[in-house]
């Protein structure tokens, strides 16, 4: 299945701490995308990492990709209360669609 599976399902941390979320998948991919969903809102694209890339940064976000292990991780450094949201990974293989998992619910306490 092309669906990504996020782990953990839920994560609670204090402001200032780092948050790490993992994504595993089963098929070969062309790219893997991470999205954030704030409560009651649509998904917002965070980072797209291609299969020939190993690491990508965007502000406080760092994404790694290990295609040999079929896994990716999203690291949010120096978290803020505003980072509280659900985070989804979407591996893309050879179809026209992204298949999202159930996400990791991150709670950042002030």
């Amino acid at each position: 299945s092309q669906q990504g599976e996020e782990d953990p399902q839920a994560l609670s941390i204090q402001e200032g701490e780092n948050a790490t979320m993992n994504c595993s998948y089963k098929t070969s991919i062309n790219n893997l995308q991470w999205y954030r969903q704030n409560s009651g809102r649509g998904l917002v694209h965070l980072i797209l990492i291609r299969s020939n890339e190993r690491e990508k940064h965007s502000g406080r976000l760092r994404v790694t990709l290990d295609t040999s292990k079929k896994s990716s991780s999203l690291l949010i450094t120096a978290s803020r209360a505003a980072d509280t949201a659900s985070y989804f990974c979407a591996p893309w293989g050879n179809t026209d669609k992204l298949i999202f998992g159930t996400g990791t619910r991150l709670q950042v306490f002030p």
């Binding site: 995308q33 992204l98 159930t102």
Partner: protein, 114 residues
């Protein structure tokens, strides 16, 4: 300016009714999608159109019918609404039919069927 917009934001209706949700994007994208997110936050693709051509049609009851009058619009009509149709429906768009690029999502339409 809103990139992907949906109307209405909330929709409460009785079982058996027919309703429509509208979606518009002003990003110049050629591909649009409809997703359904259930109460467990599982986001599932329903349909996708590329240049007004249907390219993804998942296992969705035929009570659901998408309509794309042009590249910037993708509407969803639902006939004979059932309790299980209650969910949040998201429209999205991207450039290109394959997922080379990011998708932009609308704010969602929360449908409640009573």
């Amino acid at each position: 300016d809103t990139a992907v917009s949906q109307t209405p934001k909330y929709l409460v209706t009785q079982m058996g009714n027919d309703k429509s949700i509208k979606c518009e994007q002003n990003l110049g994208h050629d591909t649009m999608y409809w997703y359904k997110q259930d109460s467990k936050k599982f986001l599932k693709i329903m349909f996708s159109y590329n240049n007004k051509e249907l390219i993804i049609n998942e296992t969705v009851p035929n009570r659901f019918s998408p309509k794309s009058p042009d590249k910037a619009h993708l509407n969803l009509h639902i006939n004979s609404l059932e309790l299980g149709d209650s969910a949040v429906y998201f429209c999205a768009s991207s450039q290109g039919r394959a997922s080379y690029n990011e998708q932009f999502f609308g704010p969602g339409t929360r449908l409640t069927v009573l």
